[in-house]
């Protein structure tokens, strides 16, 4: 399995090497690879369905518990098949769709990496590894959503999705670490083995909530659903992929993956279904008043994701089975519908359903395919969607908790779905045609949705073909062996009655809306009133406020006045030093001052005098010279105490300083009195305090007994170990070479910074 992931990575980069001649067919190459991988996964089906799992593990950072552990079991196989198969179709579709846009190579690069990281996500059985892939999908979807980055909306939407999913990702990461600290391992198998331990731990509830936040942000659950609406700014192939088999399904996957650990606990069964039901209803309710095809589809995706979450939250065999079936149902029809939406947009140049109509005459093929996909979405027989919906109703009836409420909510939501399906079909394909059509008929774009529609129909007629995929996954999630049978015809029962009722109500709703054009606008107005919070706007407003808040804070600390920075630094250093001097008080200034030869005392007098002069002088050159005298004087003192290296360095540096100061002074105005008397007094006080404290510190330093002194080691070993007699140099280049490396690196960075800052040209006015 490592090889597959490496293949995707290599493929993504190899795309740039494709010669110009065939570069127009790049997507087909990727599609072919996806197909090969898909066939490989199909080939693993017999092994997996007998209950085996394929594992591979390579040590990466064993100390951190992070290893490249991959597991192919029933659950990941289902997702792998969906990712590769729909990926295959998406790439074929994109080959035609993306032709007219610039930068397609970059697009395929992102999309290939995205497929690969999605596969990595579902295959990894180490949770830290899973988190890495999780974040990769977030980042890549950011890049994909912002692909048309010349549009402001696309950029905004991309940021929004990155913030929301990134926030969720961080929550998830904390949760992973929390549970990792309980189990002392990041491997899923260990977690499942020690599920009881996890559930009894006090860290269980916070971890669960954090994981759920991660899942809900990724899977666009209420109230995090809004990022998915913005995500439709992405090119249509991306939307099709994102909504059907990847990205949002990652959350569902993680729910299913962690089901054996968390599933069935009271916290799980109370939080997950409620959020799911809420999302299901919000999505389908808000979908019906939209007029943009892609937006309608996005809302229905949210609703479908709500259903999946809800089903995984209800803790029964039936519900998990329904969830798995619905996963396929949704992937098939949603990918097809997005691709069809793209096809219609290409054909007519618009996505607004009010501006479309009568397309049945120009593209009967498109009509048939759309109809099949929409019927599956509406859950009408003989589509796979029908079976999915029946199972969902059954699961809701069977729910141990608030089952009647769930059934009512589910039916309401499905009524909306039916109405939306018919609305889309009628508004787009029937009636008068309102737009001029593109000359190109884009028949190639119908290939992928056609196959998906056929699958919806085929699996609907022969549902048992689906069981070999679902059984192994079910056994992984529910951890017991379950034989399942899928049937189109369940016989007359409660569920069928409910289904009929749903469809009839849906059609009635549709007729009402279709007849009265005004009803939608009125409805929209009501919705705007009722749901005054526009999540997207609220999010960006919140973000703006946060940025303003931090800007204010930053300006308070980073005000840009060098003098105040220096004052702050010196005052804080003085305070810390005096505190240190205070708590270690009890030492006395050594009274035994040794008397130095007169020339050293004279030197000290000269140094002090020139320091004073440099402060009080009124001429720049004079100040510099006085400072240089101070420096040379100090280097002479070094020399007296036989610190030759130090003295040489000090002399050279001092010389260079003078030259540079002279260079700078040439360009500066003459000394002028800019500071008032009070500032001068303030600065003098600060400087004197600092100087005094430093003096005290050096007096104290004499008294500090540092035995055993480290310098003894250097003196003893310098010649023996490092073959050098100059201890200073040996310390610099051998004993403390890392420090020196750091210092010269800092020097280089500082020099580059200075040179860059000085070379900035003032903008011409």
């Amino acid at each position: 399995m490592n090889i597959i992931l490496i293949l995707y990575l290599a493929l993504a980069f190899a795309l740039f090497l494709i010669p110009k001649k065939i570069s127009k067919q790049t997507a087909l190459i990727v599609a072919f690879v996806q197909l090969v991988v898909f066939v490989y996964f199909i080939g693993q089906l017999p092994t997996i369905s007998t209950g085996n799992t394929i594992r591979s593990s390579v040590d990466w950072m064993p100390d951190l518990g992070l290893n490249l552990e991959f597991t192919l079991d029933g659950l990941s196989l289902v997702f792998c098949l969906l990712i590769t198969f729909i990926g295959f179709l998406v790439f074929i579709y994109a080959n035609t769709y993306m032709k007219s846009y610039p930068g397609t190579m970059k697009f395929y690069f992102y999309l290939t990496l995205f497929s690969g990281s999605m596969l990595g996500l579902v295959l990894s059985s180490n949770l830290v590894l899973l988190f890495i892939f999780w974040e990769l999908t977030s980042i890549l979807s950011f890049l994909l959503i912002s692909f048309f980055n010349e549009k402001e909306q696309a950029r905004k939407a991309a940021f929004q999705s990155l913030f929301v999913t990134g926030f969720g990702g961080l929550c998830l990461f904390i949760a992973i670490i929390l549970i990792g600290s309980i189990v002392d391992s990041y491997s899923v198998t260990d977690w499942v083995d020690k599920a009881q331990l996890i559930r009894n731990d006090s860290r269980y509830l916070p971890a669960l909530i954090l994981i759920l936040i991660g899942v809900f942000t990724k899977s666009a659950q209420f109230p995090f659903h809004f990022w998915l609406l913005g995500a439709m700014q992405a090119p249509t192939p991306v939307s099709a992929y994102l909504h059907s088999a990847t990205m949002v399904k990652a959350g569902v996957f993680l729910l299913a993956r962690l089901y054996p650990i968390f599933g069935g606990t009271p916290e799980w069964t109370h939080i997950v279904p409620v959020i799911g039901a809420l999302t299901m209803l919000t999505g389908s309710y808000l979908a019906i008043t939209q007029i943009d095809i892609k937006l309608i589809l996005a809302y229905t995706t949210i609703s479908a994701l709500g259903i999946l979450t809800l089903l995984l939250g209800i803790d029964t065999k039936l519900s998990v089975k329904a969830a798995l079936v619905f996963l396929f149902v949704h992937a098939f029809y949603k990918a097809a519908l997005f691709m069809l939406a793209g096809f219609i947009t290409k054909l007519t140049g618009t996505r607004g359903i009010d501006r479309l109509g009568g397309l049945i005459r120009s593209t009967p093929m498109g009509f048939i395919i759309t109809m099949i996909a929409l019927l599956s979405m509406a859950g009408m027989p003989p589509m796979l969607g029908f079976i999915g919906k029946e199972l969902i109703y059954e699961a809701k009836f069977d729910s141990p908790w608030i089952s009647s409420l769930l059934v009512v909510l589910g039916v309401t939501s499905n009524i909306f779905m039916v109405a939306i399906s018919f609305l889309l079909l009628f508004k787009v394909f029937l009636g008068k045609s309102k737009t001029s059509l593109s000359k190109n008929n884009y028949l190639m774009l119908l290939f992928s949705p056609g196959i998906l529609a056929l699958l919806s129909l085929g699996f609907g007629l022969f549902p048992n073909l689906l069981t070999p995929f679902i059984e192994p996954a079910l056994s992984i999630i529910r951890a017991d062996d379950i034989q399942i049978k899928l049937k189109l015809w369940h016989g007359f029962n409660q569920v069928l009655l409910l289904s009929t009722f749903t469809v009839l109500m849906g059609i009635m709703l549709f007729i009402i809306i279709y007849r009265n054009k005004k009803i939608i606008t009125v409805w929209q107005r009501i919705n705007n009133r009722l749901f005054a919070i526009n999540f997207t706007n609220a999010f960006s407003a919140g973000l703006d406020k946060f940025i303003a808040f931090s800007t204010k804070n930053t300006h308070f600390i980073q005000h840009g006045y060098n003098r105040y920075y220096i004052i702050t630094i010196i005052i804080f250093t003085s305070l810390l030093l005096s505190f240190q001097l205070y708590i270690t008080r009890g030492w006395e200034i050594s009274s035994s001052f040794t008397f130095h030869p007169f020339y050293i005392s004279g030197l000290v007098v000269i140094i002090s005098l020139s320091a004073l002069l440099s402060v009080f002088s009124k001429n720049g050159i004079f100040t510099v010279t006085a400072m240089a005298v101070t420096g040379y004087g100090i280097s002479l003192i070094y020399l007296y105490y036989s610190a030759i290296d130090l003295a040489i360095t000090q002399i050279i540096v001092e010389t260079l300083m003078v030259v540079m100061f002279v260079l700078v002074l040439r360009g500066l105005p003459k000394f002028t009195k800019l500071s008032s008397k009070s500032t001068k007094i303030r600065d003098a006080t600060i400087a004197l305090c600092f100087g005094g404290i430093m003096t005290l510190l050096s007096l104290k330093a004499i008294n500090v007994d540092l035995s055993p002194s480290i310098s003894d080691y250097f003196v003893d070993n310098s010649a023996l170990l490092a073959y050098g007699k100059n201890i200073v140099n040996v310390i610099l280049v051998d004993f403390r070479a890392l420090d020196t490396l750091g210092e010269i690196t800092v020097l280089v960075i500082a020099a580059l910074g200075v040179s860059t800052l000085l070379n900035i040209k003032k903008p011409k006015k």
Binding site: V659, M660, L663, V664, N729, V748, A751, L752, N759
Partner: protein, 138 residues
């Protein structure tokens, strides 16, 4: 400044300055000197030149940009860690090679010398960069 005396002197002092810098670098391990001092000495020569010539003339004389000296210096310093890394010793352990030459007796060459050369080049480059940016802008 454009002084003939300084310019002529610069020509002859060049050898003196640079050989001095070089000696300081080489002897550094056993006697006062080393990469820092050597690099500063070398830079000092250019500073001296900057008094005698215009900065454009110096740039022509120098041929290599100060940034490249800095980069080369860092690379030298990093390369000096390579032998210890390859021989499996702790990183940055000095590896020594002794050569027996008939003229100068035994010479010991070690990675610390390479490291010191790195310091030399970096310090020289940094000083020159400061100098040039300051003098050219004014």
């Amino acid at each position: 400044m454009n002084s003939i005396i300084l310019q002529i002197a610069a020509k002859y002092l060049k050898i003196l300055f640079l050989s001095f810098a070089f000696i300081a670098l080489i002897r550094g391990h056993n006697y006062p000197g080393g990469g820092f001092i050597g690099g500063l000495l070398a830079a000092l020569y250019i500073v001296y030149n900057s008094l005698a010539f215009t900065s454009r003339q110096i740039k022509q004389q120098l041929r290599v940009r100060p940034e490249h000296y800095m980069g080369a210096g860092l690379i030298c310093a990093l390369l000096s860690f390579l032998p210890s890394l390859l021989s499996g010793a702790p990183l940055m352990k000095g590896i020594w090679l002794s050569l027996n030459t008939s003229i100068m007796g035994e010479i010991k060459l070690g990675t610390p010398l390479l490291f010191d050369i790195g310091i030399f080049l970096t310090v020289m480059g940094v000083t020159l960069l400061f100098l040039f940016t300051l003098s050219i802008n004014k």
